[in-house]
Amino acid sequence: MAVTLLTTVTVIAMLAKESFVFFSEVSIVDFLMGTEWHPLLVPQSFGVLPLVFGTMTIVIGSVLIALPCGLMVAVYLSEYTSAKGRKFLKPSLEILAGIPTIVYGYFALTFITPIIKSIYPDAEVFNGLSGSIVVAVMILPMISSLCDDAFRSVPSHLKQGAFAVGANTFEVVSQILIPASKTRIGAAVILAVSRAIGETMAVTLAAGATPKMGLQFLESIQTMTAYIVQVSLGDTPQGGIEYQSSFAVGALLFLMTLVMNLIGHQLVFKKGKYDS
């Protein structure tokens, strides 16, 4: 038990210590507000915003795809399919969630990117869209499973009441189920966003290594996680500013996911209006 607490303490202490070293050389304002990120060129510049934009590209793209799809899958699972259909569909979705992210990266690079290039010939080999699509596939099972749980916990008398006054399934879903479980849908989205922020290998392989400001879907971008991998592959010496910078980026990443997870878990366990 002590180990788990120790882990958290060590995580925070280590990230704080290494980032402290970094921030003694680069001011924290320049880091958070800077719009230029080229740590490997001289003169070095450590403005983290391009990396944050890279991560946001993936997050926004993947959630825009995965949220509507995940909701519809959840509706299908909870309202339309038979018990037998559920028995086949749920494990299949779990398999989708269990495939290692490196495999998704490979899939994005060798399957999705060529399709994107055939539709948009100007798209670069590494692009934000390809990364967003695979991350969407990765977070879809999570969204659909959490929303499915939420729909099934809505008391049946609400649904029965609506059906009794002549509503059809679409109306029940859009006017009863979704409003009644909106907190938990929100929680699902937040947890999915947190997962997308931390996603590493797929975006490293598919989305490229070119930090850019703004949301670029057809160009090569670089996420925060991809930068950390890039530094590690570059075999940087300990104590070098690049080595420290990966910890500073990691600390920012940790803070972002921590806040998301805390809010998400609060919402999942929050007693909704209709929970008994």
């Binding site: 495939i99 290692p100 997962r195």
Partner: protein, 283 residues
């Protein structure tokens, strides 16, 4: 269109959309498997498994990666399983239900949601640099152990919680002490659930790539590690290395490696499902 027709139409369209989306996501799974099998099947042979990586795609294999991954799993299990089960037993059976226990549970679920790359950074700072394990199997195994520890704890806790009250009460009624109840009654009854959780956690650790890259596992190694302090490579890293090369041959080789990885994962998951269905009495 009258209102009634419009309503019926919307309902129909919606149900089709839901159905199509659901089957499309299953289709993606099959598409992914098909794509990888198509690219990698011709490379999947005995030579792939028994050769070391090479600059020539035709001679290259995953021997060092495969053995690296297996050794890594062994180290990971040795460190994470006893601590994980111990923590779960403490939290579920002994801990008082107070603020501190609550805080620890929240902490564990947060650790479970922390991105794996952060574990890599921690492994790099603590095991590789601070404790001086260098880029060894030990450092890699410890990093992965930290990564799957929360998953094991949560799964074990659920398994322990599922053991019915009556079983404990019966043992207490016969005069058993708490440790006797836990060791001889609760733990055996919860074991299938715990095993399933451990297997799933381990299969997650096999596919992890990012933390190993961060702690500096080798991307090219033509040897099998001799001890826990040796440097190593792992199967997913080998795959990443090949997949990031532009040549077609190496891309296909990566698909071959992925096939081996997926087969390994499917076998493990199959065992987990088997244990769950065959031995689980309580859930």
């Amino acid at each position: 269109m009258t209102l009634k027709q419009k309503r019926i139409f919307l309902d129909k369209i919606f149900s089709y959309f839901c159905r199509i989306t659901t089957y499309a996501s299953i289709l993606i799974l099959f598409l992914l498997l098909f794509h990888i099998v198509k690219a990698g099947a011709s490379w999947l042979d005995w030579q792939l498994i028994t050769s070391f990586p090479s600059r020539h795609a035709s001679k290259a294999g995953i021997k060092s990666g495969l053995f690296g991954s297996l050794y890594l799993v062994a180290v990971t299990i040795i460190f994470s399983v006893p601590i994980g089960i111990g923590t779960a037993i403490y939290l579920q059976e002994y801990a008082k239900k107070n603020k501190i226990t609550q805080l620890i549970k929240l902490n564990i679920s947060n650790l479970a949601g922390m991105p794996s790359i952060i574990y890599g950074l921690i492994g790099l700072a603590i095991f590789v640099r601070f404790l001086g394990f260098d880029r060894s199997l030990l450092a890699g195994g410890l990093t992965l152990a930290l990564l799957i520890l929360p998953v094991i704890i949560i799964a074990s806790q659920e398994a322990l919680a599922a053991v019915p009250r009556s079983l404990r009460d019966a043992a207490y009624a016969l005069g058993a002490r708490q440790w006797q109840v836990v060791i001889f009654q609760v733990l055996p009854a919860a074991l299938p659930g715990i095993m399933t959780g451990i297997i799933l956690a381990v299969s997650r650790s096999i596919g992890e790539t990012a933390p190993l890259i961060i702690i500096g596992a080798l991307s090219y190694a033509a040897f099998i590690p001799n001890g826990v302090m040796d440097s190593f490579t792992a199967l997913p890293i080998q795959i990443y290395n090949w997949a990031s090369r532009p040549q077609q041959e190496f891309q296909e080789l990566a698909a071959g490696g992925i096939l081996v990885l997926l087969i390994l994962l499917f076998v493990l998951n199959g065992i987990a499902v088997f244990i769950r269905q065959r031995y689980q009495r309580f859930s």
